[in-house]
């Protein structure tokens, strides 16, 4: 298991991406799929900075990476206000406007995406990418099953 704690500074996201990409490649994903997985985790972390911490750089978040026999799990933890899961939806792609694509990318590149309901201190978002069919990064934004 890997666990890193980062400040909520956007410039630290490249550190997070590097760690995710390294672990994904180590788990056997191709370079391109590892980059897509890193993008998905990066978007989730960026959402924490923008929406949970409202751009405040003095907060913290943690990333845990668990390699399971059949999947790679990423758990992003923050200590901000509870996220209202019902409000998180990827925007329709036909709606041309800046923003709103981050959630779409998360859903596209991950197989599962869920918040841990019992976590009381903030939010714990779990993103799962299955090892079977490595290289099967989705292409329509409907891949991730919200649980």
């Amino acid at each position: 298991m890997t666990r890193i704690v980062l400040g909520s500074e956007p410039r630290l996201l490249n550190v997070l991406r590097a760690v995710v990409k390294f672990r994904a490649q180590e788990a056997g994903f191709s370079q391109s799929d590892s980059e897509y997985i890193a993008l998905a985790v990066d978007e989730a972390a960026a959402n924490i900075i923008r929406h949970t911490y409202h751009g405040c750089h003095d907060e913290h978040m943690a990333l845990e990476i668990h390699l399971q026999p059949d999947r790679l799990e990423f758990i992003l933890e923050d200590w901000g206000p509870k996220v209202c899961e019902d409000k998180i939806r990827p925007r329709p792609l036909d709606d041309l406007r800046p923003g709103g694509l981050g959630t779409f990318f998360i859903y596209s590149f991950m197989d599962e995406c869920s918040y841990e309901q019992d976590y009381k201190k903030g939010n714990r978002l779990k993103l799962v990418k299955f090892l079977s069919g490595k290289g099967a990064c989705a292409n329509d934004g409907s891949s991730a099953k919200a649980r």
């Binding site: 956007p10 490249n14 991406r17 990066d42 406007r97 800046p98 694509l101 981050g102 934004g141």
Partner: protein, 119 residues
């Protein structure tokens, strides 16, 4: 990420390199909006040095496209690497933006592209 602006035949070329993410996209936005606001005949973004782009970077490009429509400025991208192209395709934006393979093609054709093309 680095952003540099040069002019060729009055067309502004924004050379962007590195990672375009939540941290760096405001710098690209600043350069993009300044050039579009300057109302030159065209603005091109050189993406050949962009190793990574996230949704905030894409949002910046979409915003640039929308502003270019308002100012009737020709707007295009060129030199996209495979990962950036794939992300744009996934978001179905590859047909919204005018995308050229390289700078020579972009400079040759930008003038013939209507500001509203690709939408």
């Amino acid at each position: 990420m680095t952003v540099q602006v040069r002019k060729l035949d009055k067309v502004a070329i924004i050379d962007c390199s590195g990672d375009v993410d939540l941290s760096s996209s405001p710098r690209l936005r600043e350069a993009l909006m300044a050039e579009i606001k300057a109302s030159g005949p065209g603005v091109l973004v050189n993406m050949s040095g962009v190793a990574y782009i996230d949704s905030s970077g894409i949002a910046t490009l979409v915003e640039g496209l929308q502003h270019s429509r308002q100012t009737k400025t020709h707007f295009g991208l060129f030199g996209l690497r495979q990962n950036a192209r794939s992300v744009l395709e996934l978001a179905r934006l590859h047909k919204v933006f005018t995308i050229f393979d390289n700078e020579a093609e972009a400079l040759e054709k930008i003038g013939s592209v209507k500001p509203f093309d690709g939408v």
